[in-house]
Symmetry: C2
Subunit: 241 residues, 2 copies
């Protein structure tokens, strides 16, 4: 099912900062640009882990409000996949000598507020949230891992890449969208709000030296790529991004 | 942490119906009594799996409403443990040729209603629910597995026995209860309601031939044992069952 999303193995190949000189092509430069703004390991992991908890909570909410047993069962796999990613990030935290709860704590308030805005008002909106927010954030954190030490970067990229259960979400949403044009336009609007809020919370993860702003000219292509991947995800649903 | 609960290895040793003649002691007879009311494999698994989803939903709710990051992190392990049990039961269902969603469907309405009554109104009540309901139901379904074929019975008992994360719940609740006698009495009342509702839903899993009632005289000791285990769990919290 992964092939549906045009999200192939390029998600596991983390671009390395050190190899910039050896690689050509604009795309590499774009990706590496994000690696230069990677925060320290603890901040990266604390934020990524707490965001993964929020992604898990959205999947669990979808499971709880699922209007049929099939949906509950399918969303249990999505929730489980997110929980595995979370546990993997926590393992990285403890492996590097950090207390998980204390390291996540500074991000709690901001991410809780974000989570409330992207929960969705019903089954379909929450499904779109689960699919869109996890897609964007996992994508973003795989790219941002480019600035971490090799070992962690590769393990984290492998950890965050799988999209277990999204095949079900796509099938369920496509069927509902095909049957109801009003739902399609409501969910397209919802998807636009999600991408805005999610890219904002993603940006706040960038390590920008005090009293400076990130180099927008270098960042823009990175966010253009993230939005392009998001647009492909919405296309798969039959929605305009 | 399992030792806190006086729930030792007797939970993995599923009493076998066939061995009744070979074993002495009232306790074995009591346990075997439940095995005689074990429903067919599909009904057993469908009900146990859907109840495990409800247990997972309670743990996820606790995670969502946790007042601190430490609590969120700890409840992620409780939720993950419940999800593993669910997935194990679903694996048994597919292995025996049953469609998971269709097999769970007949139990949906009754268990959803049960789930709503045991959710709890706040962090502490939901923690008690997570601990008490999963303890009672896993206990019950391990005993009820006694009437299933050997292979399944042993795998299911091994699957449902671990109580991952309950050590955290106990610590968190004990600290709050020690600090606030009013909370202690409120949670004791809540625990009594939980045990009543949970034993009712457990009873509804028993396969009783049409137009007959279960043999109460034989069932009573089984439920007495379940309640005794529940009482030990409440004792650990410092609450009167």
């Amino acid at each position: 099912m992964a092939s549906l999303f045009s999200r192939g193995k390029d998600h596991v190949e983390v671009p390395r900062l050190r190899s910039r000189q050896n690689r050509g092509g604009e795309e590499n430069v774009n990706r590496v640009a994000l690696g230069e703004l990677t925060p320290d390991l603890a901040s990266y992991l604390g934020r990524a882990a707490y965001l993964q908890l929020a992604i898990f909570e959205t999947a669990s909410l979808a499971l709880s409000i699922a209007p049929h047993t099939r949906g509950k069962n399918a969303m249990s796999r999505v929730a489980g996949s997110s929980l595995e990613k979370y546990e993997g990030l926590i393992t990285e935290l403890t492996r590097s000598g950090h207390d998980p709860a204390a390291t996540m704590e500074p991000f709690r308030r901001e991410i809780d507020a974000f989570h409330r805005t992207v929960l969705g008002a019903d089954w379909y909106e929450t499904l779109v949230s689960s699919y869109v927010v996890s897609g964007l954030l996992d994508d973003f954190f795989v790219r941002l891992a480019g600035g971490l030490p090799d070992d962690q970067a590769n393990r984290i990229a492998a950890l965050l890449t799988p999209e277990l259960g999204s095949g079900y979400i796509v099938d369920e949403l496509r069927a509902a969208i095909d049957a109801d044009p009003k739902l399609a336009s409501r969910l397209a609007v919802w998807g636009r709000r999600l991408v805005g809020d999610t890219l904002l919370i993603a940006r706040s993860a960038l390590a920008v030296p005090e009293n400076t702003a990130p180099d927008e000219a270098r960042l823009e292509p990175v966010f253009t790529e993230l939005i392009a991947a998001h647009t492909r995800r919405m296309d798969v649903l039959g929605l305009t991004a």
